[in-house]
């Protein structure tokens, strides 16, 4: 296919689709007949009564009828009701349920407000009244409650979304303290992280110890480990769909927190009461400001090093009409490490630094076309960029003249996306919930450029090494799916995601089926199964595994084909004890092909030369079983998650072509999370255990022609010690509940968990032979001992 045609046609097709959406909407508005006896459809939003923000996943059902649905990611629901239905029952976790009487058939979108329980009652308990687990077709999905994220024990006083997600079964952390996600044996690049629909390419702050998601600005988080709905695509292993809060439509308020290394502040309120609102949230670390005086006191004149990050979230939305709502959200984050080394003797200053930036923007238009048809159009922007820089400046006097010499070396790389997207939810019949849509993205990759600038005497030398032209790629997909209720016991979701990727004159395309089914067994056990195929056109080149900014995003090329996988999963789920407990067991099998790894000896910092020469293509396989027991209500809530899994990789030129354990192959992974609401305080405890990481270590050595040759017992043939730790936090309310003091203890029993291992050589000189007697040992570096932290959060 001619790529130019492909580029021209896809945006045109998207415009046509948008026009088509608008046309039937107007047509239907005109053609809707007067209400007549018979089933009818009610649609609208469920919102928070205090803030006006939409509630995602709220349950809306006909009272006393087996007819119900949930609000989508935008708080919208559409429900076809029997002719004689006059009342709706609306419920949501943490909110007081409400019965809504429909005095007449609604001719405009409904707006149903629910009151938060904490505001309605002075209660110690959290109650749940959501959709029964066994009623959902969707499997392998987990909803993350932002309140949980802010309650669980934290490292250095910073609540972190990704660290909470790591506690869920099937999702593993990387190295100690890292916020990287490894989902069902997949790699860190196989997770689609969306912030208000825009992809986030590097979700790491501070070398991965924190994530880019500021919890004060978030409203809803969904994690899919498998069974992906057709609307998601582009990654093999998981989807993390994060929605930012819309801002309070009714009154101004703010919140903030002061922690050990960072503080944050959020302000929100109506722009026009009840019609439009905004939210602005910012966070910055100050570790560099705190430690600089310490460094100066310890080694005066020796220079200093520092690190900081900040991020900024903002969102505004406006109700243009009862049917139309427009949103604009932006995110910007920046990390920077710097090292300044002056040398007074030679009058030289060396400044080294590296940093990375993430930015996203989303412009979204939601329209309730009819009670049965909800449409969204989005324009998305995402950018990730990093750079490493070293500057040297020397001053001296030569022949009575002051001379200044300067050198500068800089490496930078990045990726930038523009996306246009349309999604439609349509309920043509009570037994069908149809979704379809399309998206087109223009990627621009900057694989890696090194620039050298040198000024010596009167000579100025500029050189750019390994400059590779910016690589443009066009990605597009269309999707359609139908959630079908075949009988009260059997429901299914059938979908397909058709994706295409054009780069460098080559076009890849694939149809990815997305199938899921649920059968209600006797005893309210739900048997669920899913099959999904996935395709990934972008690759992340990384071997550090610790979230270094030098991780490099590259496109599929004519030589490096897209990654592909399919995943089959099956499991059982049900609720117990009047819905107080939920239990599920899921098994999964996921083969992958086209996965990348660096060739042996490849240097991640030297990718100015063709990256394709430094990677190899192989296969992977992951399978396992996950158990999840959760208690969502009562004074004590929490969950126990256990994963038994295997994950291997196979490359023709690695490990003799034999399969080897993936670095994060973790046989056993356990998380126990408990929160107990006491009379005044809230106590949270989290304990995690994981099989040791697989790494490559030399098992032996021999001498050959003056050099020592390392012998490895297989790639990733060595296991680090098992990882486990216990974290505890206590939250104490202050100022009548408008403030909270949190004391957290990370790694309570001071477990020395391995961060990495290295081989240490001890050489004793033998004067007789002139050679050394060498003893090798393996040493383990641990990062975090027991770490207490204190933070203070407040609202105003």
């Amino acid at each position: 296919m001619d790529l130019r045609l492909y580029r021209r046609r896809i945006p045109s097709a998207l415009l046509l689709l948008i026009a088509a959406l608008a046309w039937p909407a107007r047509a239907q508005e005109r053609a809707t007949p007067p209400p007549a006896p018979g089933p009818y459809t009610a649609g609208g939003y469920v919102t928070d009564a205090e803030t006006g923000e939409v509630l995602i996943g709220a349950h809306v059902a006909a009272a006393h009828r087996p007819v119900g649905t949930t609000t989508n990611a935008y708080g919208f629901f559409s429900l076809t009701l029997p002719a004689d239905t006059t009342t709706l029952h609306v419920s949501y976790v943490g909110y007081r349920s409400r019965t809504v009487v429909l005095y007449r058939r609604p001719d405009a979108p409904l707006r149903i407000e629910l009151t938060p329980i904490a505001a309605a009652l002075d209660t110690l308990e959290v109650t749940a009244d959501g959709v029964p687990l066994e009623d959902e077709v969707q499997m392998s999905r987990l909803d993350v409650d932002i309140a949980d994220v802010q309650t669980l024990p934290v490292l250095l006083g910073e609540a972190d979304l990704l660290k909470t997600i790591q506690l869920l079964p099937g999702i593993q952390s990387g190295t100690e303290g890292s916020s990287g996600l490894y989902v069902r044996g997949g790699g860190p690049d196989q997770n689609l992280m969306l912030l208000d629909g825009a992809p986030v390419y590097n979700a790491a702050h501070l070398f991965g110890f924190f994530s880019t998601f500021n919890t004060d600005a978030l409203s809803n988080v969904e994690v899919y480990k498998g069974g992906f709905p057709a609307r998601y695509g582009g990654r093999l292993s998981s989807v993390l769909d994060v929605q930012m809060r819309d801002g309070n439509l009714k009154r101004f308020e703010g919140r903030g927190a002061v922690g050990l290394i960072a503080s944050r502040l959020t302000v929100e309120g109506p722009l026009r009461r009840g019609r439009s609102s905004f939210i602005v949230s910012a966070r910055r670390t100050y570790l560099d400001l705190i430690t600089r005086p310490l460094q100066a006191a310890r080694s005066p004149g020796d220079g200093y090093a520092g690190y900081y990050f900040y991020d900024f979230n903002a969102k505004a939305n406006a109700l243009a009409s009862p049917r139309d709502r427009v949103f604009l959200s932006v995110y910007a984050g920046h990390d920077r490490f710097y090292l300044v080394e002056p040398d007074d003797e030679t009058d030289t200053a060396d400044r080294f630094g590296f940093g990375w930036r993430n930015a996203t923007a989303t412009l979204r238009w939601n329209r309730i076309v009819t009670p049965r048809l909800f449409a969204r159009a989005m324009l998305l922007f995402s950018r990730f960029h990093y750079e490493v820089e070293d500057r040297q400046e020397t001053r001296y006097t030569f022949a009575g003249q002051a001379v200044r010499e300067r050198t500068r070396a800089r490496l930078h790389s990045g990726i930038r996306d523009w996306t246009a997207r349309v999604d439609v939810d349509y309920l043509p019949h009570p037994a069908h919930d149809v979704r379809f849509g399309a998206s087109v993205t223009r990627h621009r990759f900057t694989p890696g450029v090194r620039i050298f600038h040198e000024e010596r005497a009167e000579t100025v030398r500029d050189s750019t090494l390994g400059r590779q032209e910016n690589e443009d790629a066009l990605a597009a997909f269309v999707y359609a799916e139908d959630a079908i209720t075949l009988s009260p016991r059997l429901s299914a979701r059938l979908g397909v995601h058709v994706s295409g990727f054009g780069v460098d004159g080559r076009v890849y395309a694939a149809a990815e089926p997305r199938l899921a089914a649920r059968l209600l067994l006797p005893g309210r056990w739900a048997l669920k199964a899913s099959y999904v195929a996935t395709r990934q056109y972008l690759h992340l080149l990384t071997n550090s595994g610790i979230g270094l900014p030098t991780d490099l995003w590259v496109p599929s090329t004519a030589r490096i084909r897209p990654e592909a996988a399919w995943q089959a999963a099956a499991g059982l789920a049900r609720r117990f004890a009047d819905g107080r407990y939920e239990a599920s067991i899921e098994g999964f099998y996921k083969p992958m092909r086209g996965v990348l790894a660096y060739t042996e000896g490849a240097a991640t910092l030297g990718l100015h030369r063709g990256w394709e020469e430094q990677v190899m293509v192989g296969r992977g396989r992951a399978y396992g079983v996950e158990l999840f027991l959760q208690k969502q209500t009562g004074r004590t809530t929490g969950w126990i998650g256990y994963t038994l899994s295997w994950s291997t990789r196979r490359f023709p030129d690695l490990n003799g072509g034999r399969p080897f354990p993936y670095r994060y192959d973790r046989r056993h992974d356990v998380a126990v999370v408990l929160t107990r609401r006491l009379r005044i305080n809230t106590l949270s405890v989290a304990w995690v255990y994981g099989t040791g990481q697989a790494i490559t270590l030399p098992a032996a050595r021999y001498a050959d022609a003056g050099t020592l040759v390392d012998v490895y017992d297989g790639h990733n043939g060595h296991r680090m010690r098992a990882y486990h730790r216990l974290d505890v936090s206590v939250h104490t309310p202050r100022r009548g509940g408008r403030a909270r003091v949190t004391l957290s203890v990370y790694n309570l029993y001071n477990r020395q968990n391995p961060l990495f291992l290295y081989v240490d050589d001890h050489a004793d000189f033998d004067p007789q032979t002139g050679y050394h007697d060498r003893r090798r040992s393996v040493r383990q570096v641990s990062l975090f001992p027991v770490i207490p932290s204190l933070s203070y959060s407040f609202t105003f």
Partner: protein
């Protein structure tokens, strides 16, 4: 203020919060390591040592296995038994290797799993033309290869300047060879001089020129001395190419946190090392045959000095002496007398009986005696014929040993 102080205190704790401890590693079962590089018309010599496990104290020397049974058999030929000559060096002068023949090696020793390997000794490097353009500023050499189209072929190219004692760095000009040459070299982010810097030797596969007449172009800015430098073009076996490439990459990647570890590509089944061969084409005065004839002979120790932990020493005034005879069949005999550090004014006697190899202009000695000469490489001075060897300064000791004819 108190809160601020607490924060500062915690931050200070954080600055030094990492800890390092030694951890146990699984016991390693030692394996035989066989290094057998064969060349047409040269005596058989194979080094047999064993691996030393991580956690085991061992010298930076081959841990010799002296009691192994080492045999080599050609396809359709009789078995050649190699005899131990010292220092793990096994030797035979029987029917010599022939280009194009396939050889099978077996080695066994008590306490080790037996090992075996096979290799085909490549046909002579198919050099059809050689041209050297010399200018005061630059030398350019063109080597035309008629690469066979039916096989995957591998080559090694280097230049030795006999007068300078060192390899001559050069640059390969052919752009189509850049990807495989760059992949051999560990890169450095902030060293612009390293990008495209001259190499001392290159390993090539014929992927870009398989089955064609291909002209390899070499350039060196600091010209070599055409009167004393020799261009070597080797046809090497695949096992040689893979092993040497992996060793080179492993050395470059060692202890680098951002480079994938590299495993040595051994073709020894059940063990480690390499059994491989090559045939050499040369242009210049010091072909392997000439060099071999030149090094054969008797020598006496004339210098033995250096530094140990920055303290200089010289053993010759203290009575150090020795003789060394390199025989044409690859064996070596001799005696070395060195001052005994435990008993002043006393000399210790060491036997230098064993063997030697001659590769790339370097003489390497093997013997049982625990001397600095064991595994040491010597260069031959073309003017005086003296053999000069030494230990590298990075070993904390710098020893220079000279044998004069």
């Amino acid at each position: 203020m108190r809160t601020l102080f607490s924060m500062v205190l915690c931050a200070a704790v954080l600055l030094g919060c990492e800890t390092t401890v030694e951890v146990d590693v699984a016991a390693h079962t030692p394996q035989l390591v066989v290094t057998g590089l064969i060349e047409p018309g040269r005596p058989w010599h194979v080094l047999v040592q064993r691996t030393a496990g991580t956690g085991e104290t061992a010298p930076d020397l081959p841990v010799a296995v002296p009691d192994a049974t080492v045999t080599i058999r050609a396809d359709g030929g009789s078995e050649i038994v190699l005899r131990h000559r010292g220092g793990g060096f096994y030797h035979a002068a029987g029917p010599l290797p022939e280009a194009g023949a396939v050889y099978h090696l077996q080695a066994a020793a008590e306490g080790f799993a037996p090992v075996q390997a096979s290799t085909r000794l490549p046909a002579p490097a198919p050099v059809t033309a050689f041209r050297l353009d010399a200018t005061p500023a630059e030398h350019r050499a063109e080597i035309t290869l008629a690469d066979p189209g039916t096989t995957r072929d591998f080559y090694e190219v280097f230049v030795l300047d006999d007068a300078r004692f060192y390899p001559v760095p050069f640059t390969v000009v052919n752009p189509e060879l850049m990807p495989q040459l760059q992949a051999l070299d560990v890169d450095d982010l902030f060293d612009p001089e390293r990008a495209g810097r001259p190499l001392e030797r290159v390993l090539l596969h014929d992927g870009p020129f398989d089955g064609t007449r291909f002209t390899l172009r070499l350039a060196v800015e600091s010209p070599w001395n055409a009167a004393t430098a020799t261009v070597y073009v080797r046809a090497v076996s695949e096992a040689y190419y893979r092993y040497m490439r992996s060793i080179r990459l492993q050395k470059g990647a060692a202890h680098h946190p951002f480079i994938e570890p590299v495993a040595a590509r051994s073709n020894i089944r059940g063990g480690q090392g390499v059994f491989a061969g090559f045939t050499t084409w040369t242009a210049g005065p010091a072909s392997p045959d000439v060099l071999h004839r030149q090094v054969v002979g008797s020598y006496r120790l004339s210098r033995y000095h250096g530094e140990i932990d920055d303290v200089p020493f010289d053993y010759r005034p203290d009575g150090a002496a020795g003789t060394l005879t390199l025989h044409a069949d690859g064996t070596a005999t001799g005696t070395l007398y060195l001052p005994d550090p435990a008993r002043p004014d006393t000399l210790r006697r060491f036997s230098l009986d064993g063997g030697y190899t001659l590769h790339d202009g370097l003489v390497r000695l093997f013997h049982d005696a625990d001397t600095a000469l064991r595994d040491m490489t010597f260069r031959r001075d073309p003017q005086t014929g003296a053999l000069t060897g030494g230990l590298a300064p990075h070993l904390a000791s710098h020893v220079t040993v000279v044998f004069t004819p």
